[in-house]
Amino acid sequence: MRRKSLLERIRLFGRSAIDVVAVLGRSCLFLLHALVGRGGIGGGFQLLVKQLYSVGVMSLAIIVVSGVFIGMVLALQGFSILTKYGSEQAVGQMVALTLLRELGPVVTALLFAGRAGSALTAEIGNMKSTEQLSSLEMIGVDPLKYIVAPRLWAGFISLPLLAMIFSVVGIWGGSWVAVDWLGVYEGSFWSNMQNSVSFVDDVLNGVLKSLVFAFVVTWIAVFQGYDCEPTSEGISRATTKTVVYASLAVLGLDFILTALMFGDF
């Protein structure tokens, strides 16, 4: 490769910085057009139901299975540490708080990005490359309203529900390991949990977290699909980008949200 002069490097850097800003702006306009303004066509509800099925219901299996296993592992690990201090009845509280505050929203969002997010990107990218989006436009239907908006809403609705289901089955898995297997007294398992878990501070904050994640993950997934290069390499690149960007965004936002919600005590 030819060596680049310093000036050339600076120019390249500047150009890629401008590109990043442009993509940001484009994705915001994209979101605005999709969600705001003339509702488009009738039957929007039908479209939403269909997307809820493919985005939400289809992700249920992986969420439930991972939830059970993560709850079980948490209970096992927690038990082995807590027995050293003779406070194994606190394992319920540990499992519940870990799941509700962190693992529920975060792991669900990561799994969602991998399962539903990549599928959304690939689906929309495929529609773009087979000219289905153009075709919709020429039929006089705005693809942002007809294709993008139902998928965005389905993501916004599904992820918080999935996160709550994840936490519940996780706690159930934890209780199964702790109570039925390791022999923690059932009464103290649940009462310890109930004493330390606050509905507003823990449950609702967790739901709020997953709402934010839902917004970001779905946005990234749908935008990457819509903005991808309409070739097979372009689609596969966009799918990878979706998973990487969405995961990074979730983890980064999780830190900020945790600092805001649980930081001051």
């Binding site: 406070s87 519940a96 606050s198």
Partner: protein, 155 residues
Amino acid sequence: MQNRTLEIGVGLFLLAGILALLLLALRVSGLSASPSSDTYKLYAYFDNIAGLTVRAKVTMAGVTIGKVTAIDLDRDTYTGRVTLQLEKRVDNLPTDSTASILTAGLLGEKYIGISVGGEEAVLKEGGTIHDTQSALVLEDLIGKFLLNTVGKEAK
């Protein structure tokens, strides 16, 4: 039809989500259905609240009757003011009842125990418990113990 199974699937999914929220509320966080109007507020001033946290429970004879809702410093007396929220059904606390900060087990969490006094008059909404017993601070205890020993040797 195929459309039908799809709708049922989505419906079940939404129901599962709502059920999950309900379970989290009732079973996991122990949110009781009773609204906050069934409670009343009391204040207690402690010299040292060390380790007591908001949401710690308030007990009487070992039975939970309320929780701590706020902890702040009283500027004039330099003492810690603890706001207690007690259930309405326990409305017969005598004015000279004692509130003490106790510890569950040796290293467990701090909570407030109330023991009954003998007065006729009872505490009302916004009342103050004057007779308080501060938290036991381990460092102080060890300090006292050491001083005692040193004192004995000097004799």
